[in-house]
């Protein structure tokens, strides 16, 4: 499996390089967008002084670095996940079903969204500009970023799999995932119940970023274990929902090509 993933990676990277100009433009766009927000937080913190419900400027910057790297990794290594709905309703899953590989990894990893490289770079740079260089902190940052990439992709798989059952759910799934990203860029502590329940479940911003940020700020083994089991549960759920959907898959005969 790893060999194939590596192959996809190299393959997609070289394909992406064919369109170098648009690649660079996308990377530039991401960079610009993120910088504008950082500026927003800088001014805000300068004006209010102190912290926002326990989150200082550097904590918010950690959220940004984590979100950028996690999202970037998801886009680079599992870039096909955002297209699952359209692949299902256009009947393009056939190609993957005919190949002798585990469906989900094969499906999800077969595409790279080059714009993700902008986020990856940004996340790493931002981390080292604003956070600690201590090896165990850096390690934690990397682990949480990878976890975020995987869990975020699992969430995408769950929502996009609804297309199997309900017809095209692309827009709905896209909205939910965008909301996850939007929420994790704000301090988790500003929200109170009942909205936090939603942010722990339907829009799992807490699992993806806020709890990791808390653990990063002050290590807590119990919290870490709870987080890991929640992550595993989401990943298992995504596989179960997808497999159940596969039984309902109805293919189709639309003209299509792989892009």
């Amino acid at each position: 499996m790893w060999k194939l993933l590596k192959k996809y990676f190299v393959f997609n990277l070289s394909a992406g390089m064919e369109y170098r100009a648009s690649f660079l433009i996308q990377v530039f766009g991401m960079f610009l967008n993120n910088c504008a927000f950082i500026f927003f937080w800088m001014i805000l913190y300068k004006r209010i002084g102190g912290d926002i419900n326990g989150y200082g400027f550097s904590d918010v910057m950690f959220l940004w670095a984590l979100a950028a790297l996690g999202y970037g990794l998801a886009e680079v290594f599992m870039g096909n996940s955002r297209f699952i709905s359209s692949i299902i309703y256009k009947g393009e899953l056939d190609v993957y079903l005919l190949q002798p590989r585990a469906i989900l990894p094969n499906l999800v990893c077969s595409r790279m969204n080059t714009a993700g490289w902008g986020d990856v770079t940004y996340g790493i740079v931002l981390y080292f500009l604003t956070q600690s260089f201590e090896p165990h902190k850096v390690l934690m940052f990397l682990v949480f970023s990878i976890l975020m990439a995987v869990v975020f992709t699992a969430v995408r798989i769950i929502y996009h799999s609804l297309t199997f059952f309900l017809g095209n759910a692309e827009q709905f799934a896209g909205t939910i995932t965008e909301m996850v990203i939007m929420f994790i860029l704000y301090p988790g502590s500003i929200f109170s119940a009942p909205s936090t329940w939603i942010l722990h479940s339907v829009i799992p911003a807490a699992l993806v970023a806020w709890i990791p940020a808390e653990i990063f700020a002050s290590f807590d083994l119990k919290k870490l274990l709870v987080l890991l089991s929640a992550d595993v549960a989401i990943i298992i759920l995504s596989v179960v929902v997808f497999q159940a959907g596969l039984k309902k898959y109805s293919s189709g005969n639309r003209m299509g090509t792989r892009i």
């Binding site: 060999k3 194939l4 192959k7 996809y8 393959f11 394909a15 064919e18 009947g91 393009e92 899953l93 056939d94 190609v95 079903l97 005919l98 190949q99 002798p100 590989r101 585990a102 094969n106 017809g167 596969l246 039984k247 309902k248 898959y249 109805s250 293919s251 005969n253 639309r254 003209m255 299509g256 090509t257 792989r258 892009i259």
Partner: protein
């Protein structure tokens, strides 16, 4: 038997779109569903090395059947066994041994040259780099795709692309090749070329070929065995020869006489009559052309006559209509 299908059925649910303004509104809140029996109780088996054609009009359930056999769709009822495997339980194991081309879908990357796609597909099927190289060299030679192997797929003509598609599906030397409408949209010359290639790979490497088509020429030219389905049900299963025998043993006579036709013979059916012209169908298994002709000559004054065989298209459509 490399392929066995027993009592296969599949029903699709589809949303019914109400008409009119009220319909649209109602649809948003409580959609109505209608079920369509795409495949209904189909059973057949295929032997190793056979080329089998699976034919039927549009929407007959051909593609659905292929997708059920290859494990893309889950059957509602019935059993499928391919190379003694269940296509769902052993999907991955089976995938190494079968190849498929869906004429309307591509497994090649649109913006990249076919050689890149071959490379990637090779590693998906766990082939080593030298194995891939050897196989691609062989396929390039057989399919004559060398000249455009390094051009982006989007720049290829449909005929070039379908050749690459078939080559891509053979990269892992499958034992069974499924082709869904391989000649769709191609011109006559290219169609002929694809048929030759299919026959060649069947003979060269003993690949069992199972193809769907609605082009009757495909079947006449390359298949020994034909299965016809219509509206999800099997209406014919037998050799192409047999089909020709039972159906192609009919002749059509168009005559113009000097008086209305009056011919009552066993094995002759009056298809159409207009004034003094008539169209007759003669069943050669019942009577002979000689008898019919002499009867016509003795009873009538013939001003014009033409005799023709039944075209394959009509043969097929008479099967669709259940006329056999």
């Amino acid at each position: 038997m490399v392929l066995e299908v027993d009592g296969l059925s599949k029903t699709f649910k589809s949303r019914v779109k109400g008409s009119g303004f009220k319909g649209s509104l109602k649809n948003m809140f409580s959609p109505e569903y209608r079920s369509i029996e795409a495949v209904n109780d189909i059973s057949f088996s295929v032997e190793e090395g056979e080329i089998t054609a699976f034919i039927g009009p549009n929407g007959a359930g051909k593609s659905t059947t292929i997708k059920l056999i290859t494990g893309i769709l889950y059957p509602d009822e019935g059993r499928v066994s391919v190379l003694n495997m269940d296509p769902h339980k052993d999907r991955k194991k089976l995938a190494y041994r079968i190849g498929a081309v869906f004429g309307q879908k591509s497994q090649l990357w649109y913006h990249l040259p076919p050689s890149d796609s071959f490379d990637l597909l090779g590693s998906i099927y766990n082939l080593s780099a030298p194995e891939i190289k050897k196989r691609v060299a062989y396929l390039t030679q057989v399919f004559e795709i060398g000249p455009f192997l390094n051009q982006a797929v989007r720049k290829l003509s449909l005929g070039q692309r379908i050749r690459c598609e078939i080559a891509a599906s053979l990269i892992h030397s499958p034992e069974i090749l499924f082709l869904d409408e391989p000649t769709i949209g191609l011109d006559v010359v290219v169609k002929q070329r694809i048929r030759e290639l299919i026959t060649r790979i069947n003979q060269d490497s003993k690949v069992t070929v199972f193809l769907t088509s609605h082009d009757t020429c495909d079947i006449e030219k390359i298949c020994r065995r034909v299965i016809v389905i219509n509206k999800g049900q099997m209406v014919w299963d037998g050799s192409v020869k047999q089909m020709k025998y039972s159906l192609l043993n009919k002749r059509i006579i168009n005559v113009r006489l000097e008086e209305p036709v009056a011919l009552n013979m066993k094995g002759v059916e009056l298809l159409k009559e207009k004034g003094c012209s008539a169209k007759l169908e003669v069943d050669l298994t019942v009577t002979s052309m000689k008898k019919v002709m002499s009867a016509l000559v003795t009873r009538h004054n013939i001003s014009d006559i033409s005799i023709s065989t039944m075209p394959m298209d009509e043969v097929i459509s008479s099967i669709y209509e259940g006329g056999v």
